[in-house]
Symmetry: C2
Subunit: 312 residues, 2 copies
């Protein structure tokens, strides 16, 4: 095969190697979380894992507490994107000797605060040394409790497309202490029959393209409808990019991108528990994700930030 | 609180912070794996996580394939120690740019080979950069399938004490490409009613002391009965330590330490599927683990290697 350069390459490579007939595995690698049905269970569970690494996902400007919060919150966001209920987590921490025990305790406090805020029990952990760079890995198990997990692949032509809040500019702070959309994801799955869902981690441009590919549809996003955050607008004053470009490309928004049948769109938009829900476009026959306005359309794949396994 | 210096300190600290009433959590941090009962399930699952880190758990003398094998096998050993059946795993890999894609693929091949050998499906992963030092974290879920998980805390005075194979000298190679005692652990739990079990990762001395503490009993190990590996005997020729000292203290044996009611000891020793099973002592009222011979007895806590979160 060709050289492995990106996270997606790796996931595809491992997926190909590990594909097997296993009745317990309903959804394997490639979605926000795997979906499993353990022996003896009438319900599915979802499982996701994410690491955050010093000098890759955060630097010295992040407080230890924020690092811990983010390590748990990125996983909560993945469980939210399945429409599942976060339940239990295990941790793996690699700590360089340059990190004091006090700072590590603050990391754990942030992590536990995020777990507590979403009723997650931390049930185990592994603590080890690291030659350089703190890394914090959380594996989170969620429960489906009678609601089918919402995959990236379920969008249908005719569905309407939404995001749960404004996008862009997360680098100014919201990429750390963000609120994963756990409640919103569950409500969209349980109450409104979401057909496809994912969280926006690499930017709406890339992530919409992924959802389109997984569903075998085209996503058409109207540029005037994309909700732009205040942080994106502020950044644009000095960055030389437009607020919309920040909203499409910055990533780490951790809002949900979701498709709903048009028959329930009005009902979802009127739901008082989904105040941030914003229609941004629609699903049609075809492929890819496109940004459209009155005059032209552009592929969205060029926006967004895919976290490379290589530095820089 | 006092300074946090060891992995055990960390686990105790997190345990105290995260203790909560959660009917899903039957066993939290501190055993080989957590025991959970997800909503809607009639069966428990077990969950464990372990990282291995370059220049901490392995160095340049380990092949990439062996590193991958070990990363999965240490977790299989933890599930084995619960008497559960390994089922599904997720990975988190942090790779420095000094590691080639070819070498990383070999890591994955070793990891997948260990998963395949024990019928584990890899269902998800996270791949990221690391500023220095490869780290591989595996979270493994096991199924109990009608057999109660065997904890460290279940030993009773009167029980007999066993190990599943010879100990010591793992540094000469067996700490990498070892065979986790998955089948033996399941048989001991299901067929012979094991009362307490754990895997020997930090050395019989420390690990027996831990089992004694968890069970609130004393373990008395007869020095003449401790099975000493050939590697331990070979090492002793040049190390200035005795073969027995290597067997008690080297660690990373990944054999199981197990207690059985004396009423089933003979039956277990005659089991053709447990050829390595070796009686080494007994459980009595009291506390701690002691090495006894005709003349004297010594505390076992002084042996063994606790992996410190600090280097060296």
């Amino acid at each position: 095969m060709s050289r492995i350069e990106s996270e997606r390459d790796w996931i595809e490579w491992v997926t190909a190697k590990t594909r097997r007939r296993d009745a317990r595995v309903l959804v394997g690698p490639g979605d926000d979380a795997a979906v499993l049905r353990p022996a003896g269970s009438s319900q599915e569970i979802v499982v996701t894992v994410d690491s955050i690494v010093e000098d890759v996902h955060f630097d010295g400007s992040a407080t230890p507490y924020d690092i811990g919060w983010k390590a748990m919150a990125v996983n909560l966001s993945d469980v939210a994107a399945m429409g599942a209920v976060p339940a239990t987590a295990v941790l793996a921490i690699g700590a360089p000797e340059t990190w004091s025990a006090d700072a590590l305790q603050d990391v754990m406090r942030g992590l536990i605060a995020a777990a507590d805020a979403y009723a997650v029990s931390v049930v185990g952990g592994d603590f080890t040394a690291s030659p350089r760079g703190l890394h914090v890995t959380v594996t989170l198990i969620g429960e489906t409790r009678g609601v089918s997990p919402v995959l990236r692949s379920g969008a249908n032509p005719g569905d309407a497309l939404f995001v749960t809040g404004p996008l862009g500019g997360s680098i100014t702070g919201s990429h750390l202490r963000f609120r994963p959309r756990v409640r919103e994801g569950r409500i969209l799955a349980e109450r409104h029959g979401a057909t496809a869902m994912m969280d926006i981690s690499d930017g709406l441009g890339i992530d919409a393209t992924r959802l389109a590919r997984a569903s075998g549809c085209e996503l058409r996003i109207e540029s005037a409808l994309v909700p732009v955050s205040e942080a994106a607008a502020a950044l644009a004053r000095t960055s030389g990019r437009t607020p919309l470009e920040h909203a499409l490309g910055d990533g780490e928004d951790f809002e949900l991108l979701v498709t709903l049948p048009t028959s329930v769109s009005e009902q979802a938009l009127a739901d008082p528990d989904l105040t941030g829900l914003t229609p941004i476009g629609r699903v049609v026959e075809g492929s890819g994700a496109r940004l459209v306005d009155a005059d032209n359309e552009r592929n969205l794949e060029e926006y967004g930030h895919e976290h490379s396994i290589r530095h820089g």
